[in-house]
């Protein structure tokens, strides 16, 4: 009796602790290529917020963002150079990079993925980890 109650309680605690990504807004992208390893929270990119202000073309044609979660290998160095997010997040079009926590706001350990996607719902992992293997195999 006591044991089953304990297991039940643990179950409830586990459910509460586990990241409930099912609630994440459709098309929110978690980018965790390098963040965890660098001791930062992963980045959460809200598509909905940006598409209210810019058409897809601005980022995906002009700035060269690939149509792939985690496919752009974005680093802070590139952003400060004015590439990717840094094309706007430079203190001129939008707020600048000193607001670390506004982007790096994800739960540590969340894998790179686009939330609410059909692929995520129907198939196993949508995201293949970045391969930095030596090219010798080719």
């Amino acid at each position: 009796m006591f044991r089953s109650a304990l297991i039940g309680l643990l179950g409830v605690v586990a459910v509460l602790i586990m990241p409930q990504s099912a609630k994440a807004e459709y098309a929110d992208v978690v980018i965790n290529n390098y963040s965890d390893a660098a001791g930062m929270r992963p980045v959460v990119f809200p598509h909905w917020y940006h598409r209210i202000r810019f058409r897809c073309k601005v980022c995906h044609a002009d700035l060269g963002f690939e149509f792939k979660a985690g496919g752009n290998k974005i680093t802070m160095a590139k952003i400060i150079d004015g590439q990717f997010c840094g094309a706007c997040h430079n203190g001129e079009i939008s707020w600048s990079v000193e607001n670390c926590g506004m982007c790096h706001s994800g739960v540590t350990g969340t894998p790179t993925s686009i939330h609410g996607s059909t692929v995520q719902r129907l198939v196993a992992p949508t995201y293949k980890a970045l391969e930095d293997k030596p090219q010798a195999q080719k």
Partner: protein, 222 residues
Amino acid sequence: MTMKKYLLILMALLLAVMFTGAGVMAAEKKDAKKAEAKKATVSSANVFNRLLKKEKVKNASPADDGIHDVANDGTHVLQPPLIAYEGLPGTDFGNYVDWVKALDDGLLKPRYDRFDPKVEPLVMDLDIVREVKASVPDVVFPHKPHTQWLHCSNCHPKIFIPQRNANVINMSAILLGQKCGVCHGKVSFPINTKSCKKCHSKEKPADWKPPQSEASLKTPWR
């Protein structure tokens, strides 16, 4: 005289107690009946669609959505989607916002150029009809809403070869994130039973019949 008065009062009290007692007894009997009725209710294992997932929370704010870290100060500065979606036309899927309609109605004015808010998009109004083998309605691809958001180079020639009959598209590929599925099912409206007819929108001609399988036609027992 006083004794008689006392007796009367006592009798009255007794009667009152008995009546209320009877009332309580009756109530208890009713409760017992109710309890019996409860025992007869169906097991929760037989509930309709018990394996279907519950409706998820719609448009949760960053602090409640499960992917934002609540311990991070920045999380609480971010705008909750519902505030931004106020007044926008709704749908049954995705962000629960009809982005294309919102743009057509002039409720949104997203920039086409990073710097200049006055640059107008290069809109092309050309519908491509794709005949579908199965009995579902044929697909009409409207270039207009796509070119309102995107640039030609986003799709051509990498995802779709700009040539007639050059693109093999099927639902499996789309569901796996290829062709239309590069965006649909990730950012633009998702693929579910409520959204089929957004693409499959042209009814088949009246004389259309589904093609019959060779295997059935050849069978000698027809």
